[in-house]
Symmetry: C2
Subunit: 119 residues, 2 copies
DNA sequence: CCTGTACTTTACGATCTAGTTAATTAACCG
DNA sequence: CGGTTAATTAACTAGATCGTAAAGTACAGG
């Protein structure tokens, strides 16, 4: 884990920790959008939306293009993949606990069948 | 997305946004550990470590057991899986951009071969 | 050139965070 | 009991975050 990678994860996770920003990402999953449009669903001033977008941009999760007075936002796939990769390193833990659950259920099933046979 | 799910993601992502806490999770991936042991790698007072653990616990990412004066911490798989699932919803974006890259490379290769044939 | 639209910047306040030190709790051990 | 070890709680500070309102920037179009 390099310094730069850690910094990226700091910013990405911090950006994702806000429900408004996650909702903005969900909206951007449907396609590009401008700031006013992105702010529409929220009871929040435009400057507040603008700040959220800045946080997402600083984390690399979105990029912006400039066309006349409109600033279009677009979802960036690569950083989200990096987040997924980080979390994915822990995948064996939930796989393992799933296996343990399966073992338990298998065990339970066998004991139940045995009980049935004894009666 | 229910209120409770949003709250969980708020806490989980906020907890993951700190490098010390991610390092603690990485250590816990190797097995249970007590507070002092977990704090060892960091130039940080014990109360600070204790606070980080409280944040991780509140996010559900770890659980704690109590044995004499030791409080052992353990990684919880289920919430990490929930985080992975959330990020996974965006997977098609990086898959798609990967496909576009492949298309581009395939195209480049064919044009290169064609150039070769012309000479 | 003036007006409207789409945003950003600035300045501010409230609340949260990450760290500190000092004091406290709790349990074991001689 | 008294001392040591393990960890938490309390009180505090510095700095970040999330929101607001008001002012400023940039561009398009009559």
């Amino acid at each position: 884990m390099t310094e730069a990678e850690a910094d990226f994860l700091d910013r990405a996770f911090a950006a994702l920790a806000d429900p408004t920003r996650r909702a903005i990402l969900a909206r951007l999953a449907l396609g590009e959008a401008g700031v006013t449009e992105l702010g529409e669903p929220f009871q929040m001033s435009l400057p507040a939306v603008s700040k959220h977008l800045k946080v997402l941009e600083r984390a690399g999760l979105i990029t912006r293009s400039h066309q006349a007075q409109w600033r279009y936002c677009r979802l960036e796939p690569a950083p989200l993949k990096k987040v997924a990769d980080w979390v994915g390193d822990y995948q064996r833990f939930w796989d393992e606990s799933y296996e343990r659950l399966e073992d338990y259920l298998e065990d339970l099933k066998q004991r139940t069948e045995q009980q049935g046979a004894e009666q």
